[in-house]
């Protein structure tokens, strides 16, 4: 079978969907990062219960906490966007609605990630 494919197509490895395995790999790679970041996040958030504004801000402004929170936010936004894309592909069959939802999810998660980065930056640099 593979002989029927042009060598270029084989070399590019993009397959019939013309996307290759980039989505699949990105999902697994972000999953690997979240394997460590999610337990840290849950532990951190639970330990911050009851902290007032000044203490919470000072705690998150510590370099290690700020870096890990940035990593968590970026990995989870990426992973969530990729996952929601598949869920929409699987269940939404009206083309206009599917395209609208895909664009909405991309925009919402890009904006939420950027907003989180700005918020963490403000907390880290103005504490």
């Amino acid at each position: 079978m593979s002989r029927l494919r042009h060598p270029w197509a084989v070399a590019r490895g993009l397959g019939s969907a013309k996307e290759g395995v980039a989505h699949w790999w990105a999902q697994r790679l972000s999953a690997g990062a979240l394997l460590f970041l999610v337990p840290w996040f849950v532990l951190t958030v639970v330990s911050m219960i009851g902290m007032d504004h000044a203490n919470a801000r000072a705690f998150l402004a510590q370099p290690l906490n700020a870096i890990l929170m940035l990593a968590f936010v970026l990995a989870v936004a990426w992973h969530a966007r990729l996952g929601l894309q598949v869920v929409i592909e699987d269940y939404i069959h009206a083309p206009w609605l599917e395209i609208a939802l895909q664009l909405l999810v991309k925009a919402a998660y890009a904006l939420a990630a950027l907003a989180s980065v700005v918020a963490i930056g403000r907390i880290a640099f103005t504490a």
Binding site: V46, S47, V73, V76, A77, A80, A112, S116, I120
Partner: protein, 131 residues
């Protein structure tokens, strides 16, 4: 797309729920829950960055009973999706496909999810001193 009303094959509700199917569906549901939870995390960070009044308003919602239940559910959902995700990574590598193994890993994930959620809350509350 089918617009005519053709006869359908037996649908989901006629099947007895199995551990495998229920855990698979739960993986999707917790994934979507986690995705929405992230948006609340962004709101939390924005409120913390915005200043004292905004954070006080956020804490008033978060400290309410629904808010506390939501945080607990979100954490449990994250932990379940994480552990079942590890199960998926093993499957991606071609491991653990025999039916007895699938059930064993399934029960393991459920037990570990309960234990890890409890452990993280126990440790978090002890460290934070909010208990």
């Amino acid at each position: 797309m089918a617009t005519q009303s053709r006869p359908l094959s037996p649908h989901l509700q006629v099947y007895k729920p199995q551990l495998t199917s229920v855990m698979s569906i739960l993986h999707r549901i917790t994934g979507v829950v986690n995705a929405f939870g992230f948006l609340l995390v962004a709101v939390w960070l924005l409120a913390l960055a915005a200043g004292e009044p905004a954070y006080a308003a956020f804490l008033a919602c978060a400290a309410s009973l629904p808010g506390q239940l939501l945080l607990f559910a979100f954490s449990a959902s994250l932990v379940y999706h994480l552990l079942n995700g590890v199960r998926h990574l093993f499957w991606d590598a071609g491991c653990g496909f025999a039916i007895p193994q699938v059930y064993r890993s399934g029960y393991t994930v459920i037990v570990l999810a309960l234990l890890l959620t409890g452990l993280l809350w126990y440790l978090g509350l002890s460290v934070g001193g909010a208990a």
